[in-house]
């Protein structure tokens, strides 16, 4: 029986000829990641277990991106704990201050994750790196602690759902709309325990930033990981960025999929996920008809804080003003993206329109800081989750959308797409 891309990487990293869904394997890790929220719990476990040292100082990334710049004394103490651990064990890839970016934008940009790599991260959106043909998945702090100590992880080999993409996205429709459409179709547990394998000629029409966004939100369908088949666009990105060894993995022709879902990209419209689940999707036309007044817009995060996201938003906001009563925050996801947005004039466009530019931080996405919602407030956000209380008060509301819809809504003061401005 043939294997999927995910199964092939797991077999390779476990030193086995083949694996099948349901197999429990131990496999070698290429990168182990945590942030300022999950690393402290992992460090507590690491030290409680009395592990002597980390398995490899170059294969661990500690990224202080969630409650940074430090939001309060307790957050500062957590960052300090991680910093001291990084110093003690001479961790190469420790990021804070002017070097830090949102982890899942930062690691691919630095080339620390690459095709065929096996990556675990104590952050659920670690699945982002499937965009570069890596098997990467979110785990908890105890897995992180053991991974840091041993360089090994346990995995249940996932069955797969294949997404066969055809056609090309229309103007003002992006990777965010595709993944929201998929989650709306299969539900927040529609891919539970499974891998989402993205293949088909439609993949070639997606930019790398689109693919990062799509793989990033695989977890919102419950998936273990999301992964893309290599093509020339991916290879060009990898050649430019990769700082670690890599190997491309393609699906076998006779790979088994529990299900194949065919999607014609040309038929997709912009999507909005309504509170309080990412599966509560409506098309932009349905959302506009409801005339939903908003209080805040957030453009950023590991889902949509990359340069092309900022470019799309800036092109819509150019020469326009944010609607009175709406607060708009733009958070470039990494220092490099920030600099590029500055050089391209996007930051000036945002400020002229009346937006606030924030630092590279997860910030408002998880209701940590930098843009918390009051009772009854509504936010259109390019982030990934809209659970109860996700961005603040339990009676606030988050509507998930693309950068284009977020920027247009900022101008209109109601949820709308750029075609309606």
């Amino acid at each position: 029986m043939g294997m999927t891309m995910s199964q092939k990487i797991l077999a390779y990293k476990a030193g086995m000829d083949s694996v099948k869904p349901g197999d429990l394997i131990q496999a070698k890790l290429d990168m182990v990641l945590a942030n300022d929220i999950t690393a402290p719990v992992a460090i507590n476990e690491f030290e409680k277990a009395d592990f002597a040292d980390v398995f490899h100082k170059d294969k661990i990334a500690l990224v202080l991106d969630h409650f940074t710049p430090n939001k309060d004394i307790k957050a500062a103490e957590q960052c300090k704990q991680v910093r001291e651990f990084a110093d003690k064990h001479d961790i190469t890839h420790f990021y804070e201050g002017g070097n830090v970016g949102v982890e899942h934008a930062l690691l691919p940009e630095k080339g620390l994750v690459a095709p065929g790599n096996l990556v675990i991260g104590a952050d659920s959106h670690t699945c982002t790196y499937g965009a570069v043909n890596a098997f990467s998945t979110g785990i908890g702090s105890t897995d992180m602690a053991v991974g840091m100590a041993t360089g090994m992880g346990w995995f249940k080999v996932p069955a797969a759902i294949r997404f066969n993409l055809t056609g090309k996205l229309s103007k003002n429709v992006s990777g965010k709309d595709l993944i929201l459409y998929i989650i709306g179709k299969i539900g927040v547990d529609g891919a539970l325990y499974r891998s989402m394998e993205f293949t088909g000629e439609g993949v070639h029409s997606l930019t790398m930033d689109d693919r990062f966004t799509i793989a990033n939100m695989a977890i919102e369908a419950g998936a273990k990981n999301g992964i893309f088949e290599p093509d020339d666009i991916m290879k060009a990105y990898v050649e430019e960025h990769a700082a670690v060894e890599y190997q491309y993995f393609y699906p076998d022709a006779d790979a088994e999929y529990e299900q194949t879902i065919d999607i014609d990209l040309s038929k997709l419209a912009p999507q909005v996920a309504f509170p309080h689940l990412p599966e509560n999707t409506k098309t932009i036309a349905e959302a506009e008809a409801m005339n939903i007044k908003i209080d805040q817009v957030v453009i950023g995060s590991c889902t949509n804080g990359r340069i092309s996201d900022l470019e799309i938003a800036a092109n819509i906001l150019k020469g326009k003003k944010v609607k009175r009563g709406v607060r708009v925050m733009v958070l470039p996801a990494t220092p490099k993206i920030y600099m590029e947005a500055m050089m391209a004039g996007y930051l000036q466009t945002f400020m002229d329109a009346g937006c606030v530019i924030g630092p590279p931080s997860c910030g408002p996405c998880l209701g940590g800081h930098l843009g918390i919602l009051a009772k009854g407030e509504r936010c259109v956000s390019t982030t990934n989750r809209n659970f109860v209380g996700r961005m603040g008060h339990t009676e606030s509301e988050v509507y998930l959308a693309s950068p284009a819809v977020a920027a247009a809504s900022a101008v209109a003061g109601i949820i709308c797409g750029p075609d309606s401005l």
Binding site: L24, I37, T38, P40, V41, N44, E45, K48, A49, H66, F67, K71, D72, K74, A75, Q78, G121, A122, D123, S124, T126, G138, I139, G140, S141, T142, D143, A145, V146, A149, T150, W154, V188, D189, L192, Y193, I219, G222, K224, L277, L366, G367, G368, R385, F387, V388, G389, R390, T394
Partner: protein, 162 residues
Amino acid sequence: MIVSGNVHKYGDNVDTDVIIPARYLNVSDAKQLAAHCMEDIDADFVNKVKEGDLMVANKNFGCGSSREHAPLAIKTSGIKLIIAESFARIFYRNAINIGLPIMECEAAAKEINAGDVVEADLTTGVITNKTTGKTYQAAGFPPFIQGIVDAGGLVNYVKTSK
């Protein structure tokens, strides 16, 4: 091992943000986390939970973030077992890794109500609703995962299997 206690019941897709809101993740101390357990879905939970109680929920329990703070808060609040139709995969791993017992059993999850007294045998997977008298059989773990459960969590498992 047998656990027995009152049931706290929840529905589908209980996410980790309502189990332990991110605004409390500026600490990693289990007791401080437990003080806010379930706060955004059941603000009274911390007042009514007693040591030895059980939690029962429907499908996809623990979806969302990878925060191990979620099972840690539940475990430290005194809950001895979670029964659900299904668990989100990271929560499932995390619970096993930190030694918080979980069971997947669709019928039990659907039929057990809040306030029922439920007894469960963690070794055999037999669940008895003492309020209604009904019994259920939960799905077993594969041997490798049972080994982690038996060791009391992943760190102990790794340390003892060296």
